[in-house]
Amino acid sequence: MFEALSERLERISGRLRNRGRLSDADIDQALREIRSALLEADVEVGVVRQFVAAVRERCSGEVLARSLTPGQQVIKAVHQELIEVLGGQPLRLTYAPRPPTVVLLAGLQGSGKTTAAAKLARWWRQQGRNPLLVGADLQRPAAVEQLRVLGAQAGISVFSEATNPVAVAEAGVAEARRLGRDVCIIDTAGRLSVDQALMDEVRQIAAVTSPHYTFFVVDAMIGQDAVATATAFHAALDLDGVILTKLDGDARGGAALSVKQVVGRPIVFASTGERLNDFDLFHPDRMADRILGMGDVLTLIEQAERTMDEEVVTRSASRLLEGRLTLDDFLEQLQQVRKLGSLGSIMKLMPGMSKEIRQAAEQVDDKKVSRVEAIVRSMTPAERRDPSIIDGSRRVRIACGSGTSPQEVNDLLRQFREMQRMFKGGPARLGALFGGSPAAFPGAVADGGLRGRETAGLRGPKGRKKKGGRVTPPKRR
């Protein structure tokens, strides 16, 4: 997500960073490159023009002349402008004074409304709300069926009937009220902004349900059309915000920048994977960090706090650091971590992960993780406490029990031993494994450290020091 854009911006900023003096030509050159990076990232042409003009304004000659590190000044300008364009602070969700809080989802075909509806319902359930899903997409074959299946997966009931979309939406809200649900999420059919009949229909749905929130669901891969479409939906529905889907691909996400800028409504949620869990509030400042390649630990921590059992994690982590980790602890950790989402998506949020590691993590699919789990589960408690007692015949038994081969059991055991050895040296030593920067481990060091080899590292405009004494280490290069 956003990687290509951040890579290019990083290259540009890398060149500028250590320059003591920037000529007008340097700045022009940098701005031209920023322009082409943004255009390649599908940022809308008009928005690009404004963006470049605003950055130019921010680094007017005088400001730069007074600065000792003009290169950083330019980067800072880009960063500030990115936050601005992405929408400042995240939207604070409020609820209707008289429940249910009605949420209407609309968008083009295939933007991911139905999946987003289920994810949204699940998210609200995690916030302690009690949502009802309403399937008002009677257009696409089996759309309601899809919503029912997803609803069942998330444990949320779904209301729909075979009448017409407006009637279903209205009945759905009434149903939510009758059942005492406090949030009612209405999924609608995909429609083109140029289709007058369907736009009228969605307007009518909004009229009869008077939604508290109307969200425009948009695919992160969308091109220049994002703005025209969002503007048309905004004109018809008076949008409150945007849900950005499919952010897990390599789309450069320019739509995210343009929609907010042109329609003036923030991106509220972002969906980053196919699992129902891969969904969260969108944080513009963190996204700006991410675009500039600074990792996103805050999101990871919040995910962890929501899903992981803190006691279990800290207990096994402390054992890990003392080098007394058993396979039992390992199994426990594995299960905790799996609650967070797929390994690949977690790795993406970790700062300091090199591209190679991220790519490798991408290849780890959940089935393979399940195999590891099966192997450990096939061991007796004694074996898990002390793997050294595992001999040839035990190995064969474990392999049979887990449906794997003795070779695989062996691999796991060997790597587990290596891991134990490594962790005895503490996290700093593990850091060395990843290329020498202990900064890869949040909290493990007092200071975020410098940006890898570059001593004049970018500390960011906010000093990277967050509340509570936590430090967000910048990405290691």
Partner: protein
């Protein structure tokens, strides 16, 4: 060493997260922990069992027959957006302002910066006078970029061979709908079509294709949700061979081109489908016209993986121009074969470069 990565990954994440949690707990003001109700809330009276919806009812109105004027007519809806271009025509001479406006038009149509710059170079070398001439030259150049001759769909009439056309693409581009539309077309052309519901991942995708099959009167082979898509395609080919169907249209689950495992799955589907009596004669990449420059990466990676033979450009009836296919055709030599213009079973037409370029430039 995949296992190593798992072990490493898990432990690294756990250590990282837990140490942060520890630090955070020591912080003077504990941040309000978000309420995470782990208790399963009792499902209060489930919504009244609604009878299964019949989407067919909402779309029962027979789609008007396709006629040649269709593409222009449908595309015409958005022409107003490019009124700027018409003003360009009236410019008596070309200055840098004209270039900039022209560039903007092309960029807005998702043609992309490299292709736009290439067009500019080419136009630079042709000395053109006024705006009118410039636009004519531009149309020429664009058409030249879309010069693929053969845009027909390959079909081996050999006996004993079951042709398989594979449809693939990222999530939500319209694969299932396209499969249904192509089925309708080919059935009308006298082929005996069998649909393979190879999207076993997305909830109710098989159901969606089955409803389409019903509507257009096609046969379908479905597998269990969550099952192996290759097995579904294999079954379909076997069934087709046994029953004398000569064309299998295989739907697949939407997948991002960056998901290594899912792309591997796709390779397997292709391998299995290619086993005699099956023969994969078309691998069609379905692209959404609203997609921006990412479409180029999609096309490149999918082509590397499974040898895409053509592109179906869907949703061109909206305000999006789909200009990125110019770059796809030019850089990767992948011809656009079909264009989707709506949700009806007949809203699929052969790609016409002339009409496409005209629409691109409004």
């Amino acid at each position: 060493m995949i296992v190593l990565w798992i072990v490493l990954g898990v432990l690294v994440v756990v250590v990282g997260v837990s140490s942060v949690v520890l630090v955070r707990r020591r912080a003077p003001v504990p941040p309000p922990a978000p309420p995470a109700p782990a208790r399963p809330l009792p499902e209060a009276a489930p919504a009244p069992a609604a009878p299964p919806t019949e989407p067919a009812a909402t779309e029962a109105a027979p789609a008007p027959p396709v006629h040649p004027a269709r593409i222009e007519e449908r595309l015409g809806k958005t022409r107003g957006v490019f009124a700027a271009l018409r003003a360009l025509r009236l410019r008596p001479s070309i200055d840098s302002g004209v270039w900039e406006e022209l560039e903007e038009v092309l960029l807005r149509a998702d043609v992309g910066l490299p292709t736009t710059e290439e067009l500019r170079h080419r136009l630079d070398s042709r000395s053109v006078g006024g705006g009118e001439e410039l636009l004519t030259a531009l149309e020429d150049e664009l058409r030249a970029m879309l010069s693929t001759q053969d845009r027909s769909l390959r079909f081996d009439p050999e006996s004993g061979v079951t042709n398989v056309w594979l449809f693939l693409g990222v999530n939500g581009v319209g694969k299932t709908t396209t499969v249904a539309k192509v089925a309708k077309r080919e059935m009308a052309a006298g082929k005996r079509v069998l649909l393979a519901a190879g999207d076993t991942f997305r909830a109710a995708a098989g159901e969606q294709l089955a409803q389409w099959a019903d509507r257009i009167g096609a046969e379908i082979v479905q597998g269990a949700e969550g099952g192996d898509p290759s097995a579904v395609v294999f079954d379909a080919v076997q069934r087709a061979a046994a029953r004398g169907n000569d064309l299998v249209l295989a739907d697949t689950a939407g997948r991002l081109h960056t998901r290594v495992n899912l792309v591997e799955e796709l390779k397997k589907i292709r391998r299995v489908a290619d086993r005699p009596p099956g023969r994969v004669s078309e691998v069609l990449l379905v692209l959404d016209a609203t997609t921006g420059q990412n479409a180029l990466t999609q096309a490149r990676l999918f082509t590397e993986a499974v040898g895409v033979t053509g592109v179906v450009l869907t949703k061109l009836d909206g305000s999006a121009k789909g200009g990125v296919v110019v770059a796809i055709e030019r850089q990767l030599g992948l011809p656009v074969k079909l264009v989707g213009l709506g949700e009806g079973p007949d809203d699929l037409v052969p790609f016409d470069p002339g009409a496409f370029v005209a629409a691109l430039l409004g």
